[in-house]
């Protein structure tokens, strides 16, 4: 895995490089609550994560927030793209929330870089699916501009870790990789009966079709999960209150209201998916 240039504070920050670094850094962050958006933009959070990695994993006495192509930080961080994480960032105290060092929106026009190196890339839960499935997920992720780790984590969550195209909840009829409801299936030109008979690789075409409307909008794990669960909440911050006491949605989901304040935030809703993401990076799952 090579970088075209430096990434981070005062770096060249090619979009494709930034993307690869953000995916790797997310795998190096222990608490999933502060996962970086995979948006190809270097802001305060990305630089902060680089500094945290340098300080806590590489034990740099003076972290500079910059990853040089071929430098010590990249050599260590690139391993996270192919191996289960051995050392991880355990504190986020150094993550500045609002500082922006350098944004390069024009880099968004670049192609998703990870795919070119797909034969090298390991992804979350990749060890639990066929090579063909993994390849297709990476290709779809490229097209939809989303991180393959996040998509895999959501499908793992929705299928109970089975990635089965025919897994179904008999009450609702929700079926397959992203638990297509019968109406959803019809809206996308198929039926749950047909979806059930497809291979997992074939069904990915419908996963792609479903997510296409959100292209360019799914920057975080929570965005992808919300696209499935409640599309109206895509792009909202983690503090956004999705359900309030008194609504049917709240009553049905009140187990998620961890602080019992009568409100369910996106952070509370998504916690279980973040756990799936974490699990997917462990040895035996990353692949």
């Amino acid at each position: 895995m090579q970088l075209k240039g430096s990434v981070g504070k005062k770096g060249m920050n090619h979009g494709s490089d930034v993307e690869m670094v953000q995916i790797a850094l997310n795998r190096a962050i222990r608490s999933p609550l502060r996962l970086l958006s995979v948006d190809k933009l270097v802001g305060g959070k990305t630089v902060g994560a680089i500094e945290a990695f340098q300080k806590h994993v590489l034990k740099f006495s003076r972290p500079d927030g910059l990853i040089e192509a071929g430098g010590k930080t990249w050599v260590a961080l690139a391993k996270y793209l192919v191996e289960a994480p051995k050392a991880r960032i355990v504190t986020h105290a150094v993550f500045p929330e609002f500082m922006v060092y350098k944004d390069k929106p024009e880099d968004n026009k670049e192609q998703f870089s990870v795919v070119a190196k797909q034969h090298q890339l390991n992804i979350a839960w990749g060890a639990k699916v066929s090579p063909a499935f993994k390849r297709k997920v990476i290709l779809i992720s490229k097209e939809l501009q989303i991180a393959p780790d996040f998509l895999m984590a959501c499908m793992a969550f929705e299928t109970g870790g089975t990635f089965s195209p025919s897994i179904v909840n008999k009450t609702s009829g929700a079926t397959g990789l992203i638990q297509f409801m019968p109406t959803t299936a019809v809206l996308y030109g198929t039926t749950t009966e047909k979806l059930k008979k497809m291979t997992a690789v074939e069904q990915l075409d419908y996963v792609k079709a479903y997510f296409r409307r959100f292209k360019g909008k799914l920057k975080s794990l929570e965005d992808i999960y919300m696209a499935i669960l409640y599309p109206i909440h895509v792009g909202k911050p983690l503090t956004y209150i999705a359900f309030k006491k008194g609504s049917i949605e709240y009553e049905q989901n009140k187990g998620l209201d961890q602080d019992r304040d009568g409100q369910i935030t996106l952070k509370e809703i998504s916690e279980i998916v973040r756990k799936k993401y974490e699990k997917g990076l462990h040895a035996g799952y990353l692949g």
Binding site: F157, E158, T159, S172, A174, T183, Y188, G189, P231, E249
Partner: protein, 145 residues
Amino acid sequence: MKIKNLLNLFFGFFLMLNVSACNSGQNWQGKYSFTAEFGENVAETPVIVDYELTINDGTCALSIIGYQIADDILCEAKTDQQNKLNILFKSYADGSLTSFYPAQIYQVGELLFSMSREDTGLITEWGSLIVDNPFAKRGRYFKKQ
């Protein structure tokens, strides 16, 4: 004779106004909502969809928000002789017939559902709107807000 003709003309005009008001669903103006619970998916996530129908002067809008859906549909509200309100598909809110879906699902004028006021309350009869149908074809679903 002239007066009679004028009266007839006036009466006819009055009738026309009434029919037009009826067709535009004027006596149904307001907001109607229904929250559909479809059970759970494999991840034990509740599958819930909110439907909200708004009928105002000359406008009919249906918002569908919930699990795997966030659609805004423009509709036509037409009452029939039994004062049943038929909600017909017109287009999506962006004016297209497909929105972001790969193909057209509803035809223009297709009956999505209808509502009627009966002794037991407001009765909804499903047309082509809901495929996930754990519900009876007819029942008390939409409620006026």
